[in-house]
C-alpha cells in the first residue's frame, strides 16, 4: 500500500451544481514517479489537481463525493493546513511574491508557519531549496534582489523552490511550463526529472509531447472522465482507448 501516494475511487465533484469530475475510479498514483495528467482544456485536470491538497475546497459551492486516500489515509480527515505542507503546488502563471526578495520568497512559508526560527537554519533551508530547484547558481549573488528581476522561467523555478522549502512529499504542478519560453521550459522539465528520486510529482501537462518526454505514468481526462491511465510507454505506444489515440495524435 505504501507504494501508492494517492488512491482515488468513485470520485465525483460538482462546482456550482456543474458536474466537473465524473466517477473517477481506481486511479492510483505510485510513489517517486512523474505522473502526468493530460486532456483538452475543460476536462477537469486542474480541478482534480487542486482536490489533492484540498485547495479546491476554498471555492464556494463545491460538492465532493468519493474517496481519496493519501498514504492510505482519508484526506478529508487530515487537517488541510498539514496536508498542504506535505503536498505542495505550483501554478501555471509564475507567481512569486513580487514585493519580497528572492531569499524571502523561499523563506516566507518557513517563517510564517514558525517552522524555523534560527537565522542560520533558515539560510541553510533556503539554500537547500534553491539548490534542489536548480536555481541557486543563477541567483546566489543576488538573493536580496526582488523576485521581479528574474525571467519567467527563473520565477517559476523560484516558485518551485518556495514549495520545496517546506519539504513536501508530493509536488503538484498545473501546466508549469505553458507560460515559459522553450529554454526555460526545458530546464523545468530537467528539474522535475531530477526531483522524482526524492518526491512524487503530479503534473498537469498542456501537451501530450511533454507528458511523453518526462512522465512515467500518464492519465487522460476527457470531459470530466478518466479515459485511461497507465505506464506512459504503454499508453503512448498502445493506447487502448480510441480517445487516447486521437488525443496523442493531436486530433482532439
Amino acid at each position: 500500500m505504501e507504494n501508492y501516494v494517492f488512491e482515488i475511487d468513485h470520485l465525483n465533484v460538482w462546482i456550482e451544481n456543474k458536474h466537473i469530475l465524473k466517477d473517477i475510479c481506481n486511479l492510483k498514483i505510485p510513489k517517486n514517479t512523474i505522473f502526468a495528467i493530460m486532456g483538452p482544456s475543460g476536462s477537469g485536470k486542474s480541478t482534480f489537481l487542486k482536490l489533492l491538497n484540498r485547495l479546491l475546497e476554498l471555492k464556494k459551492n463545491v460538492k465532493i463525493e468519493g474517496e481519496i486516500k493519501f498514504y492510505g489515509q482519508d484526506i478529508f480527515k487530515i487537517d488541510p493546513i498539514r496536508l498542504r505542507r506535505r503536498v505542495g503546488i505550483v501554478f501555471q502563471q509564475p507567481n512569486p511574491f513580487y514585493h519580497m526578495s528572492i531569499f524571502d520568497n523561499v523563506a516566507y512559508a518557513l517563517k510564517a508557519n514558525g517552522l524555523i526560527k534560527n537565522k542560520a537554519d533558515l539560510i541553510n533551508a533556503v539554500t537547500e531549496a534553491l539548490i534542489r530547484a536548480n536555481l541557486y547558481d543563477e541567483v546566489k549573488d543576488r538573493l536580496n534582489k526582488p523576485a521581479s528581476v528574474l525571467s519567467g522561467g527563473q520565477q517559476q523555478r523560484l516558485v518551485i523552490a518556495r514549495a520545496l522549502a517546506l519539504k513536501p512529499e508530493v509536488l503538484l504542478l498545473d501546466e508549469p511550463t505553458s507560460q515559459i519560453d522553450v529554454v526555460g521550459a526545458r530546464k523545468i522539465e530537467e528539474l522535475l526529472i531530477s526531483l522524482k528520486e526524492q518526491i512524487t510529482i503530479i503534473l498537469v501537462s498542456h501537451t501530450p509531447q511533454q507528458a511523453a518526454r518526462i512522465s512515467d505514468y500518464v492519465a487522460l481526462f476527457y470531459d470530466g472522465r478518466l479515459v485511461e491511465w497507465g505506464q506512459s510507454e504503454n499508453i503512448f505506444t498502445y493506447p487502448k482507448n480510441e480517445l487516447t489515440e486521437k488525443y496523442v495524435a493531436g486530433r482532439i
Partner: protein, 274 residues
Amino acid sequence: MVKDKLIFFLAFISTIFLFLPFTWLLSVLLIKGAPVIFKGGLEFLTGIPPLPGDGLGGIGTVLEGSIFMAIIASLISIPISILTALYIVMYEGGLFAKILRFLVDSLVEFPTIIIGISVFIIFVQNLKLGLNGISGAIALSIIMIPYTTIQAIENLRQSKDEYLEVGYSLGLTDSNVIKLILSEGREGVITGILIGIAKIFGETAPLLFTTVTSFNIFLRTLTSPITGVPSLIFNFAFSPYNNWLDVAWGAALILALTVTILFTLARIFTRRKL
C-alpha cells in the same frame, strides 16, 4: 482613411480643450501666487495671517490646521478603510459585503456640504465637540473613507486573486494568508491613502460647518479653535482688502502644489507595482 483622420483630429482638438483650462488655471495661480510666496519667504509658511491692511504675514496657522486635520482624518480613515475593504474582498458575494460595497459607492458621490452639516449637528452640537480641528477631521474622514476604501478594494482583490491559493498552498493559517494579501497589495492601498489625503486637503464645504473662521490661532490643544487653508482662501478671497487677497492667492498656490505633489506620489506608488 479620411474617417480615421477626422477622428484623430477631433480627439486632438478635445485634448487641447482639456489642456487649456488646466494650463490657464496653473498660469493664473503662478502669476498671482508665486510673487506673494517669494515676497513672504519662509514667513509665509509659518506666520500668522495679517490684519486688514497690515502687510502679508503668513498662513502658518491654517497650514498647521490643515496638516493636523489631515493626520487625524487619516488616523480615523485608514484602519476603517482597510478593514472594510478586507471584509468586502474576503466575503465577496455575501449579502453584507454587497451592502457595504453599495454604501461605500454611494458615499463617494455624497455632497460634501451635507457631510459638513451632519457632522455639525451630531458632533459639534449634540456631542458638544465644538468648532475645532477634531470636528473638521471627522467630517474630512467621512469624505476620505470611500476613496481609500474603493482603492483598497481594487488592490486587495487583485492581491487576493493572486495570492489566496498560493498562501493556503504553502500551509499558511487563515490569519497569515490575510497578512500576505495585505502585504502584497500594500502599494495600491498606500496610493489610495495618498489620493484620499489629496482629496480632503482641498475640501472647503465641510470645514465651513465644523471649524472656526478666525485664522490667527496656532494649535495648543487638540481642541484649539483652528481651521484649514481652504477656509482661509474662501474668506480672504471675498474680502475687500488687498493684502488679504494676496494672502489668498499665495495660499491657493500652496494648496495646489501640495495636492499635485500628493497625486504625483500616488502615481509613483502605482507605477512601482510592476
